[in-house]
């Protein structure tokens, strides 16, 4: 299967790329292409022009800067999955990346690509949301920063304007005594999630939960924060009963889709089950 015809551009700078986006109706940015190209082959997406960012140098990096982890938009899943910094300090992100499709896709697919694609069932956006990441966007008017919770607007729809490009993902460092985990319930390892949960739990010396970030995938048009669950945990000493009970609140505000792999009802139930399990996973990882 071959895509419909399109114009191909491979600018060597972001400025040039933005100009091209500005001057071309119906143009689409190509990062890793692991979702876009499949859709173009099925002819479910047929942009008139494709603007390939891979010729722009310096968009793939993982670095630390004043209390933040900075990841370049073109950094592949494989790179940050296996980055020691990410594994040590942001395990949930590495874990989410490790569940993306398969090795070849992780070798080509990028963090910028997956968040801009904004598939509510994808792994990385769910983790990004739990991590309170900021998305650095660049456009004709220069850079702007949008928080992950405002970035994901709708099914496959983000806060990006047609003439903007995601440049960097910034993730604030997590406090001491923090544990994090991501888990996806799917029929096959690499499939889109039936239900997926990312949890980041921080406790104080007394073991009282001081911060809880929990986000849910495949539960609606975008990944969602389980604020009710978070609130039920913060300020409490976490034990199995409390976690189980709080996880029941995970169905607040969610409206999962139905497909042959899981009905909406099943997805709701699984979201609760895995909220419970992932919180425990995160908790058990504190200190380790």
């Amino acid at each position: 299967m071959i895509p419909r015809s399109f114009e191909y551009y491979n600018p060597s700078s972001l400025e040039e790329a933005i100009k091209l986006l500005d001057s071309n109706e119906d143009s689409k940015v190509l990062a890793g292409g692991q979702s876009l190209i499949a859709l173009m082959k099925l002819r479910l997406a047929s942009p008139e022009s494709v603007i390939d960012l891979n010729n722009i140098s310096g968009m793939s990096y993982i670095k630390e800067s004043d209390g933040k982890l900075l990841i370049g938009a073109l950094t592949t899943h494989d790179m940050y999955e296996n980055s020691d910094l990410v594994k040590q300090k942001f395990f949930v992100l590495s874990e989410a990346a490790s569940r993306v499709a398969d090795q070849q896709i992780r070798n080509k697919g990028t963090i910028g690509g997956t968040i801009c694609h904004a598939d509510p069932s994808a792994d990385v956006p769910t983790a990004i949301l739990a991590l309170d990441a900021d998305i650095v966007i660049t456009g004709p008017g220069g850079d702007r920063v949008v928080s992950a919770k405002d970035f994901f607007v709708d099914f496959f729809t983000t806060a990006l304007n047609p003439n903007e490009i995601v440049k960097e993902i910034q993730i604030p460092f997590l406090g001491a005594r923090t544990g994090s985990a991501y888990f996806k319930h799917a029929r096959r390892e690499g499939d889109f999630a039936i239900a997926s949960v990312a949890a980041i739990i921080t406790i104080d010396e007394e073991g009282v939960c001081t911060k809880a970030s929990i986000s849910l995938g495949s539960v609606g048009p975008t990944p969602l924060r389980a604020t009710k669950v978070e609130n039920a945990l913060v300020g409490k000493t976490l034990n199995d009963d409390l976690i189980a009970e709080s996880s029941q609140l995970a169905d607040f505000n969610i409206s999962p889709p139905s497909d042959i792999h899981g009905s909406a009802d099943y997805r709701v139930k699984m979201t609760k089950v895995f909220t419970k399990r992932v919180i425990k996973m995160a908790l058990n990882r504190i200190g380790s």
């Binding site: 419909r4 029929r187 039936i194 042959i260 792999h261 009905s263």
Partner: protein
Amino acid sequence: MRGPMATVTEEQAPPQKWVGQSVKPRESYRLIQGKGKFLDDIKLPNMLYAAILRSPYAHAKIVSIDTSKASALPGVISIITGEDVEKATKPFMGVVPPPGDKVIDYCLAVGKTRYAGEPVAAVAATERSIAEDAIDLIEVEYDPLPVVVDVEKAMNKDSTLVQDAVGSNIVWHKQFNYGDYEKAASHADTIVKEKLHFHRFGAAPMETDNVLADYQESTGLLTINCNNQMPMFCLALIVLATGWDSHKIRIITNDIGGGFGAKIISYTYMVLISLLSKKSGRPVKWIMERRANIISGTHANEATFYVDIALKKNGTILGINAKTIHDEGAYLRYEPIGALLWVQVSSGPYRFKNLRMDVNSVVTNKGPVAPIRGYGRMQHLWMIERIIEIAAKQLKIDPLEIRMKNFITSEEMPYVTPSGATYDSGDYPQALEKALEMIGYPEWKKKQSEYRKHGKLIGIGIGTGIDSGTNNFAQVKLISKENPFSGQSRMAFARMDEFGRFQVAVASNPHGQSHETVVSQVVADELGVKPDDVFVLPGMDSFSHPFTGHSGSYASQFAVSGIEAVLGASRKLKKKIIEIAAFKLGATPEDIILKDGKAIVQDSDKSLEFWMIANMAWRNNLELPPDMEPGLMELYCWKGPFKLPDEKERLNPTLTYSYQTHVAVVEIDPETGKLQILKYVAVDDCGTQLNPQVVEGQVHGAAMNGIAASIFEECKYDDSGQLLSSTFMDYLFPTAVEIPHFQTCHLTSPSPFTTLGTKGAGEGGGTPLITISSAIEDALAPFGIKITDSHTTPERIYNLIKKSKKVKGN
């Protein structure tokens, strides 16, 4: 464990040198280097590429097709629609008696479409991309018709008709009575009734159905390169539908990327692409895209069973009475043979004598089915094993005990089933004992009850499947006496060339079964040479490979029919080589043996090298015995030792009966319904193994196919007939992460009916589906749950648990 089998194995260990050894497949050498020759690798001068437009509707009248925009696209050479096809061809023949014979089946939809994904028009263009663009530009006006996807609704009098001319969606119905079920039931202590459903899934070989047709007007020669796995059988269907000159059709297959039966029904595309080549006067290549491969019906038979089993209190099975409804999809193609093939394994591995089968073959607005691995038998065997386990639970009898009590034993072999199938050899109880020993049955049983106390669900599943092979086509006479085929045959030639080296050909269209290698092993033993001295023609070319109307790879039979043909040809060749040598060396043929490339007179120093014999035969024929025909090339056609059905409609429908016994341990997460296979054991017995490594590979593949079907793969349709699992995104082909390691063991009960004791193998009888269903039911025993569908998803298991009343152990 009982001794006899083991000793049998010793005694029957084949005496030959190369047969029985795991010779590295010669085919692999080209394939591991990417130097195989698959259809899409072929490029011909001036070649065009085809693309096919498919119906978005499951059932609709075709009001009009406007191809003007598409034709206007630069690079588009020719387009054909149903109208052209109707003019150029007749509907393909089927095997059903009236009124089912009125099923209309063309290579493109004519007048109306009957399933979503049915070909509606085809384009040939100078590039693949242009052909695909042209498809987008064809405008079809459809008038949607009511859709029927539920096979039981399709049987209602007032149902919409898929095949109008037939006047009913039930295209074939027949009741078979073997023994006397009524009488058996009257003696029964219990009759257990159940409705069971065997789901629809695909074969999905990694290489899809591809065709490259090249018609030369100047000679009238039509060359069809394809990857059909039994094209010489399909040739009859093609010629009858098109009226083309059979003697001017050349069919070629090269390396084939898997088939699993699905590639048998690609003959409709062979006609379609040939029509495009004839119309454009150029070679046309068509590569089926994966989505088309999944939607356009290379599916296994979907079947619904209403089954009664009559038993004694002690678990002795007296008989089975089943109404079966086969959902054939929109077209019959090879059907309803699949609805009949249970006759090969009518009582499974069990001894009961009374069987009533009320068989219904029904069309719906779904993709057509094909003879997929385990064809027809796996559905029936799954039904028998399911109902027996369900009955055992009702009778509070252990599933092992009820099997052991009813198994046919090795002492009873050869055993004739109620429908006349003659099981040649085997030892089902021993296979089960072996499998249980390998898995560590008692240990797992102990673990199971401990785990249950903590709400952990472990299940141990058992299944025995019969892998009947080398079919007798006379079985189709049970559908209609008029059907013009019966028996089984294979043809091969063996040739000693001018330099004393050997060439062998047999038209088997292999696609992963290492036929070239296995044949070279067999011939090497016969002629006293090394396999490397025997070149086996790769692939198949109908202008160079000897073939019959039965040729091809299907119905698990190469180790029988293919090998018998090769043996016959080699032995004829051997006889002539010896005659020449005896004449030249002044010895009697009886004293001559062939060894290490020489004809040697035993107990003497007289010998003649093969090249000298060859030279006499091919170049120096005045030194041959005066009355001997020159040359050293022998043709042999093997005929299966079969009969037509008797007056009671009994016949032996296949020559050999391999079998497999699998045992699986699974764990189910009660909170999510997710299933994990903890351990999997497969014991198989296909008689003498020609190449153990190749046989083991087949066992692995069959195990995976069945596991994939039972927990991952399903062709799921919505009410409007749309297939919802049409790409690998939703059609869940399992990966190495999902599939467990298989522990295998081979038993050897040589077939008394074949020269080397071989049996056909490779389909596996759907044993994993039986085993996994059994394991799930065992895991869910605390909830008293019955497994009545061959496919389970986490959500379905979850719902079963939630719905169940009993909640012991959890």
